[in-house]
Each structure stands twice: as structure tokens, then as C-alpha cells.
Amino acid sequence: MRVRQMKRLLREPLLLATIIGIFVALGLFVIYPVLRVLLYPGLRDFLSFPANDRYVTATLHTFVIVILSTASATTVGFLFAYTFTRTTVPWKGLFRSIAILPLFSPPFMIAFSYILMFGRNGLVTYTLLGARYNIIGWHGLWLSQTIAFFPIAALVMEGVLQSIAPSLEYAARNLGASGWRLFRTVVFPLARPGVAGAALLVAIYVLADFGNPVMIAGHYTVLPTEAWARISGWGDVTGAAVLSSVLLIPAFGLFLAQRYWVGRRQYTTITGKVVLLSLPPTPWYVRWPLFAFCALVSFLILSVFVGLLAGAFSRGWGFDYTPTLKHWQDVLANGRALIHSVVFAAVAATVSSLLAILSSYLVSRKAFPGRGLLDFVAILPAALPGVVFGIGYSLAFNAPPLDLYGTATIIILSMIFWNVPMGYQTGIGRLKQIAPSLGEAASNLGAGSLKTFWDVELPLLKSSLVSAFVVSFIRAVTTLSVIVFLVTNRNVVATFTILNLANDGYRGAAAALTTALLILTCIVLAVSRLLFGRNVELFRI
């Protein structure tokens, strides 16, 4: 089998070279950095882990916050998804539009804005309510992560709930079930695999989250922030590598569970056709509590943006709210970082989406030795927390032959390979819908594999390519965890500058810079929408 596949490949040297090239690239820029992280510390460093109080505390904190935030984000997500799909709650369309906003924002933005809104000098807590409330700590983190990650859960469960035909609900009502009983015996059991899948996905994000804890957790350290503290505070690379390695264990476990256990089952559940039967009216004692709940969450989301804008244009946060443009001078002063952010992300997203789509084509259409391995490695970065990726790059590419320390290249490379799974999964999904006979027809007419890809598959994958580009771009432009270990003065990007400004107390400047970054992101989104129409599929999760 293998031998025959190789024999065939040898007759298509270009295809063979492409496959080898992809393997080398993924090996060098995904596998190798991870191995560097795992192998950098000695066995002794790992064995002394339990003796280090800070490590143990960070591990416990991580464990607690993953459970708390996953539970709350999944619950909120489920209630939202349920509201969108199965109720007649007023304004639910509006709530849905608001609910996806956090997906477009830098991960640290929510935490940062909540400090402005609900912190010690908070606009709501102090200025409006007169309370000196301290949001810094685990509870602030919990709130921020809930708001940051519930949209992921909501989108996954929306798909699952949509696939449960309303006719089932009608049938159950017909048999006399209603209200709570209907929910408990019909809707929830059918949605359960979706809930499990959503929870695992949220847990992966919470576990890897760096932006929110670094902003708002204060002394409540978690593994990613403790790793960062090791390097930034003590220059202790070994400690950071140990913490990252430990972080990898649950990350990898969650990833495997999500992909190979729930992912499979979910796939079969979601295939059902959406049947358009109008929904039975939701009773008032369900409708209004859900309405109030959605309104509260929407308020919490919108307050993020209010806080940010207010911060960007106020003279002195907490005491002097006169409008000013002085923070925008800081934005101009940091123009280089902003330009870096956008340029690096655009280059990375272009390469990343092309690479990802090409890989998805090879895996779904070509037979070659190592196909399963390529599939696995192309997905793998989705399992790797940003800090692991970042530390891996800083360890792997800081000495000849590949000394990329402080270069734009290292940032761009990290963004490319960290985002490959986004485009890859989109491509695989889309290729399932394209008849394989199209590619075969091209091959039959004399086109080699790569020409077939270029002439036939790629044009049909255009919408996937665009959405892969957009998602990769957003993730790249907003990432903090990956680049925080890689930036120097030379290749600094905006998110890093924002982190520093916020940490040093320049909150107005941080808010203004974040706003500027958001505006740039929106411009790219708008342009891609203009160029490629509405069918850009965003955030296929």
C-alpha cells in the first residue's frame, strides 16, 4: 500500500515536493517548538514542581477557574442558544448580534474594560454607585472569561439545538409534555452531546487564556500568567518551560476529548435538516426571565465597549471625565506597533489560510504515506495554549541556524502556524461538500494534482479561504499570549504595547490603542466583506 502510494507520488514530483515541504514546515514550526518546551527543563526541574508553592498555587488556581468559567460560560451560552433557537423572546435577534461581539475582540479587552467600568475607580461602581469595589482577583477573572467565552458555547449549541426539529417538540406536546418536563425529557437530552462538546471547547479556551488573567487576576496567578511572570520577572526560562509543559497536559487531554470523542458524535447530530416550523409561543414566566437575563448579559458585553471608548476619550479615569484627544497622541506615538500588528497579521493570515486550505485539500483528496499524521499536526496548534506556542518559538529560534530573535519573521511565523487549524478545519468541512469527481475530471483531462487544486478546488474553496483569512487575521491581530514572549523593541506589536500601558497605569492610552486596533480589525472585516460578499462564513467552530 505505502509502497504503491510512494511510487505514484514519485511520478508527480511537484506534489511530492509540496507534501514534503508541508511536513517539514509543520515539523519545524509546530512540533519542534513544542518539543523544545518539553525538553528544555531537565527531569529534576519537573520533579521539583510539587515543592514549589507558587507552581502548585497556580495549578490549583487554573483548575478552579477552568471549572468555574467553563460552567458559567457554558450555562450562559446554553441559555442564549436556547433563546435564539427555541423561544419567542423579544429582541432575540439583537441579543444574538451582541453576543458574537466578544469573538472579534482582543482577549484581554474584556478584562481591561471591566477594570475601567467596575473597578476601584470604575465608571459604574465608583462614579455612578459610589462604591470602592475591587474587581481585581478571581471573581473579576471569572466574570471576564464568562463574557469572553460564552459566545463560543452559544454558537456550538445553537447548531445542535437547531438540528432538533421543532416537530419533535410538537410531538412531545401532543403527548402531553410541556414546560419544564418537555425541556427536561426532550430538549435537554437531545442537546446533551452538544453541551458536552461546547463545554470542552470553552474549557480549552479558558485553560489557554492569558489576556484576561494578566489584566484582571492580580495575585490570582494561573499557569499561563505564572509562566509569563517567570520570564518577565526572573528571566527563569526553565520555570516557564516547566509550567508550560504542565499546562500542556490538560490542554491536550481536553483537545483529544473534544475532537475524538464528542466531536465525532456531535457531527452526526448536527447533520439533520433545519425544519422551518414556527415555534410555539414561550410562556411568559419563561419568556421574561430569559429576556431579563439576555438583556443583562448584553449590557455586560456592551459595557466593554462603553468603557473602552470612555477611557479612550477621558482626561483622567475615575476623577476627570472631560473629553480629550490626548490619548490619541499616544496612539500616534505607537503607530509603529499598530502598523506592525496589521501588517504582520495580514501577511500571516494570507500564508496561513493558503497553507491550511492546501493541507485540507491534500488530506481529503490525495493518498500519501503520513496522511493521518498531517491531519493530526494541522489540527494540533488548536490544542496548544498560546503561551506554550510563544515560549516554544522563543526557545527554538533564538540561535543559529535559525536565529530569529527580535525579528518580524518570528512573529509572523508564530501567527501563521498557530492559526493553521482555523483554515484547515474550514477547508475540510467545505471539501466534504464538493464532489470529488470535479477534481477527478480535471485530472482526467490531464491536470496534475497541484494544477487541479489551483484550477478547480481553490476557486470553489474561495469562501472558505476568505473566512480562514478573516479568522486568522483577527486571531493574529488580537493575540497577546503568543507574541508576548517574542517581541522586542524592534518587532513590537500593539497588543504588547497595550499590556504595558495598562500595567503601567496609562489606562487612557491603553484604551485608545485598543480602540484603534478594534477599528483596524473592523476595517479589514468590512473590506473582506465588500470584496467577497456576504457568504463569508465566520467562526465555524
Binding site: 511520478r11 464532489a435 469527481s437 477527478e440 475530471a441 480535471a442 482526467n444 483531462l445 491536470a447 476557486p459
Partner: protein, 367 residues
Amino acid sequence: MSDAPVHIAIRHLTKRFGAVTAVRDVSLQIARGSFTTLLGPSGCGKTTILRTLAGFYEADAGDIFFDERRMNDVPSHHRHAAMVFQDYALFPHMTVFENVAYGLKVGGVRGDALRQRVGRVLADLGLAGLGDRMPGMISGGQQQRVALARALVMEPEILLLDEPLSNLDAKLRVTVRAELRQIQRRVGITTVYVTHDQEEALAISDRIAVMHQGEVVQYGTPWEIYYTPQRVFVADFVGTANLLRGRIHEVEAQRFTLELAGRKIRVESPGKGLRPGEEAVLNIRPEAIEIGSIPPADPGPNVLEGVIRTHTFVGQWVRYWVDVSLGPEAAPHEFVVDVPDPRERGILEGRVFLRLDPRKIHHLQGA
């Protein structure tokens, strides 16, 4: 036709998908310029053979030769065996012209030569004027022609067609298949055609390979397949069979008799290799049975009496299902009888007499 040199040779081809053996030890020799059909029920392995010829599947065992050249390791895009897909596989993002031109462009044909060749094929297939349309904007029949044009424009030596007519409605199917045959004759291209429709296969082919569960059970001209099927499966799958299972009674040089529940059925053909006492299966086609409401003047051995159970009238002929009681214990045996041009005699009813023409009964090997 049989004098033409072998163009495609399939030798001991086996193809498995996991535990399923889709094609089992198939050997076929296909003559240059011939129209050969792979016929069989769904799932018997026809598509698998065709796709192995095209190079989309690799043989697990056995070899494929085009003109003495072993093709097993030649990738599909170097095989020059143009294929028409069952779903047409037209590129949805290219116009009709671009679809047809695609293969030529890949081959480096440009400019006027390209336009001329594509234009000629489009005109030949009645597609002139549709060149600028997208495939989604033309009818199913036109799409089918575009798919054919896209293959023919390559002037390939071999044309592979996988149920190309199955998505057309019945009338169109008949017209298009006649056109297809005409074009094939004119161009003289070696064609391998896949269908599960026996009538289509009989109508269009020089040779038919009847397939059953991954094996070729008979390979011959349509005439041979219809009149001298070698297996019960073939007799039953191609046309309608009236099977008579009995024991050989007597064997003479030019005739033999079969004993069937005490009756003797006479067959006027050489009973080569048959021995009295052995079990045998005979077949007679529905149109080879005479039917009448009065006993024939000479009640020979092959006259049976029966009762019409039901009939169906389809215009050019009428088909009767007749129950014949062969003995007191035996369950009635059902015969299917076709009477062409029923206008004169009207529809028969009730008790009838059947006469099985002894020259038109055929002995089947391997029950």
C-alpha cells in the same frame, strides 16, 4: 470487429475496499474501436473497474494494459482515457466553453487552434451558442453533452462513460444513446460504457460484459448475451427468463429432452456434454412462446395448458403471466409470454395453451 487488435487488456484485476472485494479476478480484452459495456446490478463493481482504468483507483492485484503498455503506475492525468462522469462533474465556476477548453489548455493548446477545436466539438454536439453559459444555466441533457464534449475534444484513444444517461428522462435517454453510438462509430474511439440498464446495453454495445458480485460472468455480443446466456443470472438479468429446472431425459445428436414433473420438453439444439439423468436448467424467452385459446392442431410434447393470471398492455406488445400446472403435487409454474402486435387477436383470458418452440429453448450451464 473481433479481428481488431486488443486495445485495453485487463488481467486478473482485483480491487478491495476494506473487507469488501469490489472486483474479483476480472480479465477482459477490449478490441480497438469497439463499444464495450459493463452491465450489472448496482454494487457489482462496474464503476470500480472503470475508475481503475481511469487511474482513480489502484489495483490490489492484476494489471491494466493499454496497447501492451502496463498502466498500473501511470497517474490518471497521463492516461489519455477521457471519462464522462455519472454526475457530469462540470466545473461549476467555468463557462461551457471553458469547461470544454480546459483539457486542451492544460495540454498547451492556445489561441485560434483552441477556439476552433472547442467550437467544432460544441457544434457537433448541438451546443453551439451555449459556450458562454454557466453549467448551472443549461438543461440536464445539455450538461450531459457538455460532459461528453469535454471528453471528446481531447481526441482521446479511450472513452470511459459511467452511466452517463442515468440522469436524463426516458425519452431523451433513447435519443442520446443513439447519438452517442453514432459519434463513437464516426470517431472510432475505443469506448467502455457502464450501465445497469440491460436494454441500453443491448441497444448500444458491440460487446457486453455482464457482471455479478465483482466478477464478469459472461462476455459476448448482445446477441450471445440475450440468446445464449450461460448462467441463470445472465438469463434473468438480461431480458426476461422463463426458467425450466428439470432432469435430462434423452440426448441425441441434434436434440435432447428435459423431464419436468413428468412431462418431456423437447429442445432442438445439440445437447453437447449433457448426460441423461443430470439436472439442468433451460430458458425460453417470453416472445418465443406461442399462446392461443384453442389447443394447437399437433399437440406435441412442448404444449402446456394453463390459466392466464394477469396481463399488462404496453402498446407494441402484451405480456401475459400464465400459471401452468405441471402435476397434481407441484405448485403451478409461472410462464411469462409476450405477444407482439396484439391488435388483431385482442387480449386473451382464462384457459390457454402454450407452445414452447423447441428451436428457441436454450440450455443454461451452472444453475
